[in-house]
Amino acid sequence: MTDSILVMKNITKEFPGVKALDNVNLEVRRGEIHALVGENGAGKSTLMNVLSGTYPYGSYEGQILYDGQECQFKTVRDSEKIGIVIIHQELALIPELSIGENMFLGNERKGRLGIDWDETYAQAQKHMEQVGLKERATTLIKDIGTGKQQLVEIAKALSKNVKLLILDEPTSSLNEEDSRMLLDLLLSFKKEGMTSIIISHKLSEIAYVADKITVLRDGATIETMDNAGHNIDESRIIRGMVGRELTDRFPKRQAYDVGEPVLEVEDWCVHHPVYTEKEVVSHVSFHVNRGEILGFSGLQGAGRTELARSLFGRSYGAGICGTLRINGTERALKNEREAIEAGLAYVTEDRKDNGLVLIDTIARNNTMARLEKVCNKRGVIDIDKENRIAEEYREKLGTKTPTVQQNVGNLSGGNQQKVLLAKWMFADPDILILDEPTRGIDVGAKYEIYCIMNDLIAQGKSIVMISSEMPELLGMCDRIYVMNEGRMVGEFSAQEATQEKIMSAILTTGEKDENKGVRYA
């Protein structure tokens, strides 16, 4: 008898022209939490898709042993039947259906005539209690926040009698409070004997929750580390992931000279575009100096994105009022085009939805925000020039792609982020607003993004960075503003700012409201 619940042996998976997995081995013991880490494109998700049957038996080489039995999954359903459930990064819930309906979608409780709703909702309620969800099972998914939706996914997995739960970046869209709750839930399941595999980029979470850590790099297993004491050194994991020592997670930058204010905002208010009586940003004032990186901290839904987008040519919100001065002159930017021409750039947090045209090439995305720069007077594009520019940015930012004619949708997250940055750098702004510029990308790519930010500062540009990761704000910014529930609740210089101070600024101002984190998300 072995106490390994899962053994994956010599898994090799090829896509046309690419070996995504090369002889990968993974052994998971019964009742442990096993973390899978690696840079974007290292093959973590591919490996889990092999395990769950998303890539059917026969499309890969190697062997999967579950409970000592060899498995040959043809579909996801086959793997779910024996208790392997995967929860993907992008949640697969239908907003217009209730929690209960979602939980039993495709797995309906049947009565004599159609669906037995009493049974459905009773069962749903039972599993929801297990995950600590206090909503009613008839509540619609769209009415609960992302954090709770994540819990619904887990409850759904429980309803399928899960024995091995796989979570692909479960906390990437959660705030700190919800993340902690989720991780504690995993720990309590562990006590009850459930086995989990968790994929994450957040090393502190992994150190907190995982018993074993397996590192993947370029489609191969690098090592498996023991973390029974939950005290593993984060730099130890990073070393395994990138294959080099990252002495510092944030690049050094020359001391900057505080320039004059380039952007001044006074008494700025924004209302929700649909529920116009609701104030999303309330009487906010701040300024950005030339050559500084300014941070915006706060929980999700604090109104930072809404503030940034309303400043960027009123691309969000209704009933916007307040004063906006650029280089000392008051401006009324009526649309995005005027904002771009005034030297503003807003680099969105949601690159897939709001940032890039995924079905278009890198070159064409690169020039999109300022296409006239590669055009002659009559609006005819110089395609050669466009390609040359895209090529220059590819080299400058180190985007990994065979050619700039590649569709952006084929790139990994970190490389997409670089294309998005290139797009806005090409627009040649003086002030860049970067909204969560390192979300969902790996440690190595993050470091590269930080370096690009420093380069921009060295060129005399100014940066506003909105981020939910406090270490990155503390590591990169000259000044940090803290927002909560649409209001400005604190300002710290780099020297005086600490995580504790920022958190307490948030917590002491907000009323207790458990929906706070998602209200405006």
Binding site: F15, V18, G43, I340
Partner: protein, 401 residues
């Protein structure tokens, strides 16, 4: 798979061959269908008259296909009203010429202005008022069809204005050079165009090489242009043996060249692809998406009106059913020609292939004498196969979703 493609060191030759096959599927399909119908009709497809008529009969599909492409690019939106616009404009033209002594050129101008007015109206509703295009143009389809019939007074109105007919349906004849049976001018123009294309390709390559840009392989670039050249020469030889160069061909080519240029070379054209690819990102990039929608539907109506003139001149009369279901031909040509049903991709050359493929099937079946009802069945099947192929092949290469 999306994570790993970027690390691909270079595509293997097998992948390249299948990519090539995918890129030119519809061209290959066109060749196969053409050969099939040529065999089925014992070579009648190749008669000079039939080759010449193939393009003229489908002139409206080619012209309206260009406009429809812009609409479809914005996100798979179509314009259902074009058949009715075509009818209304044709009706106005025929009535003006039948009942007034207005000059033909003036009539054409009036008709184009009316088309622009229809375009501005629909473009405004769709772009600025945000009426869903499907519904807005469905309403337009009924509304304009009705107006067309009112203008015609439920009659068939024939056109006898010589100038008007000459502007659209005559053939170019050079005195001294062209005889009744042999219009050498067509061949000469054909050869000049073929040589010109070859020279342009060569000089462009040389220019790019000099500046050190990456080039596609010489073999593939020249093979492509030589095939096109050969087709041009053969086509002009056929025209030579019939009545020479039809003026309508020049009108169609003019529209095709203009729209190819707009969609592939101009910032204005690029915006249509951007809106269809990701409207929110386009808006945040400072592009006024309302204007893009406006332009798409405005240009569509203008081309529909222009097609109305072409069709009226070619048939020589207009009735209440003129242009019935023509919108479906234009939409079909776009989708067969590889435009994405979700928007954001598609090209004018693709539409040309799609339109000709539909035309060949139509003509082949007519010559063969297939029952009209069955012709619909075949056309539907071809459209379905084309779209299935598009969706499935995109899915396999991981481009969709």
């Amino acid at each position: 798979m999306k994570e790993s493609i970027q690390r691909s060191p270079g595509l293997s030759s097998g992948v390249k061959a299948s990519a090539l096959l995918k890129k030119y599927t519809m061209v290959i399909a066109l060749v196969v269908v053409f050969v099939f119908f040529t065999a089925l009709t014992h070579g009648k497809m190749l008669y000079a008259q039939n080759v010449s008529n193939l393009l003229l009969q489908n002139a409206y599909v080619l012209v309206m296909g260009c406009g429809m492409l812009l609409c479809i690019l914005t996100g798979g939106n179509v314009d259902l009203s074009v058949g009715s616009t075509l009818c209304l404009v044709g009706a106005i033209a025929s009535q003006l010429m039948a009942n007034t002594s207005l000059n033909a050129v003036l009539v054409i101008l009036i008709c184009l202005i009316i088309s622009i007015a229809i375009g501005v109206w629909q473009g405004f509703l769709i772009g600025n008022v945000h009426i869903p295009p499907f519904i807005c143009t469905l309403a337009g389809m009924f509304l304009l069809r009705g107006l067309g019939r009112v203008v015609l007074g439920s009659k068939t109105v024939s056109i006898s204005n010589k100038t008007f007919l000459n502007i659209f349906t005559s053939y170019i004849t050079v005195p001294g050079l062209d005889k009744d049976t042999l219009h050498l001018s067509a061949l000469i123009v054909g050869v000049i165009v073929a040589v010109g294309l070859l020279v342009i390709t060569a000089t462009n390559r040389a220019k790019k090489e000099k500046r050190g840009y990456a080039l596609p392989s010489a073999a593939s670039a020249f093979a492509k242009i030589i095939v096109i050249d050969a087709l041009i020469v053969v086509y002009s030889w056929k025209l030579t043996n019939y009545k020479g160069i039809p003026v309508m061909l020049l009108w169609v080519l003019g529209v095709l060249v203009l729209y190819t240029f707009i969609t592939s070379k101009t910032a204005f054209g690029r915006y249509f692809y951007a809106v269809g690819g990701n409207e929110k990102a386009t808006k945040l990039s400072g592009i006024d998406t309302r204007k893009v929608y406006f332009a798409a539907y405005c240009s569509m109506s203008v081309l529909a009106g222009f097609s109305g003139l072409l069709v009226a001149a070619r048939i020589g009369s207009v009735n209440g059913d003129t242009g019935m279901s023509y919108e479906m031909d234009a939409i079909g040509a776009c989708f067969i020609g590889g435009a994405s049903a979700y928007g954001g991709s598609g090209t004018v050359p693709g539409i040309v292939v799609g339109a000709i493929l539909l035309g060949v099937i139509n003509q082949g079946m007519s010559i063969y004498g297939l029952d009209n009802n069955w012709q619909y069945v075949v056309k539907g099947a071809v459209l379905l196969i084309a779209v299935i192929f598009d969706v499935v092949s995109n899915h396999k290469t991981g481009k969709a979703g």
